[in-house]
Chain length 162, copies 2
C-alpha cells in the first residue's frame, strides 16, 4: 500500500489532481506490466476518477457519451475487465458498481470499503486487523475465507459535520 491518502477527500479538495494522479498511476502500472492502456481504457478510468463515487456500468457509458459517441455496453465492460485485472478498479459488490483505485495493494492484502450513504463517496482502508479477526471467527466454523467483501455503509466525516 502506498502513501496514506485520506480515505475521504475533503469536499473542496483539488480533484483535478486526484484525476491526474490516477491516470499517472495507471500509466505507470501498465508500463511496468507492459499492458496497453488504450484510449478507451483510459477514458473509462477517467470516468471513474471523475468522482469518488462508484459508478455503475451504465453510468460510465453516460459519462463517456459526453465526450465521444456513446459506447456500447460491451465496450466498457471490456475496459472494466482490463482495469480490474490490473488492480486499477475495484468492483463494489453491494452496488454492482465500479470504483477507481489509486493505490497499490499486494494481491493478498484485504481492504474494506466505507460507503457514505450521504454523499456516496467510498473510502478504502486497509483491513488487515479486520481480516484477521474475521478469519479467526470464520475458521472456528471450518470456513476458509478467500476473497472478502467488506463493504460498510455509514456516514463519512465530512457529511457528519454538516
Amino acid at each position: 500500500m502506498t502513501a496514506l491518502k485520506p480515505a475521504f477527500p475533503a469536499p473542496g479538495h483539488d480533484h483535478d489532481r486526484c484525476t491526474a494522479e490516477g491516470i499517472e498511476h495507471a500509466e505507470r502500472i501498465c508500463a511496468d506490466r507492459s499492458q496497453n492502456l488504450t484510449p478507451i481504457r483510459r477514458q473509462v478510468l477517467r470516468a471513474l476518477l471523475s468522482s469518488h463515487r462508484p459508478l455503475g456500468a451504465y453510468e460510465v457509458i453516460d459519462e463517456l457519451a459526453r465526450v465521444m459517441p456513446r459506447p456500447a455496453p460491451i465496450t466498457v465492460y471490456r475496459a472494466l475487465d482490463f482495469l480490474m485485472q490490473n488492480g486499477l478498479v475495484h468492483r463494489i459488490e453491494s452496488r454492482n458498481a465500479f470504483l477507481a483505485c489509486g493505490r497499490e495493494h499486494d494481491d493478498a492484502s484485504a481492504v474494506a470499503f466505507l460507503i457514505c450513504e450521504c454523499c456516496g463517496s467510498v473510502g478504502e482502508i486497509p483491513a488487515t486487523a479486520v481480516a484477521q479477526s474475521l478469519s479467526d471467527a470464520a475458521r472456528q466454523t471450518g470456513f476458509t475465507p478467500k476473497l472478502s467483501v467488506v463493504e460498510i455503509t455509514g456516514v463519512c466525516g465530512h457529511c457528519q459535520s454538516t
Copy 2:
C-alpha cells in the same frame, strides 16, 4: 442471538427439521409482534428455507410456482419486505439474494455472512469482534459505520474435505 447452531449444516443433516424450526420460529416471532404470517409469506419463507443458499427473487418465484400458480414478482417482493422487516430474512447484498434466518439478533448486533463458493451455502456468524476492529479502523478516518455488509467468500468446512 440464540443457541449456537453450526454455521454450516452438514451435507447429510436432517433438513426437514431445519425447515420446520424455521417456520416455527417465524410463527413465534410474528405472534409476539402480532404480525400476520399469511400463507404467501409463509410459502416464501418456506422457499428460502428449502436450502441454505440465498435465493434471488426470481428463484423464489420459480420455487413457489411448483406448488401454486406462478406468483407475480410484486407478490414475492411484498412478502420479502415483510419477512425482512421482521428479521426473518436477510438480504445478501453481494448477490442480490435473500436468505432465511432462523436466529434472533438484537437490531444492533453485527453479523457476517460466510458464502461458500463451492456449495453456495451461506453461514451466519456473530461479528462482534469484527465489527469492533472495523469500527476502530473506520473511525480513524472519521467514518461512522452504520449498517455493515460483511460478506466473505470462501470454502466451507464440508466442501473442503471433499
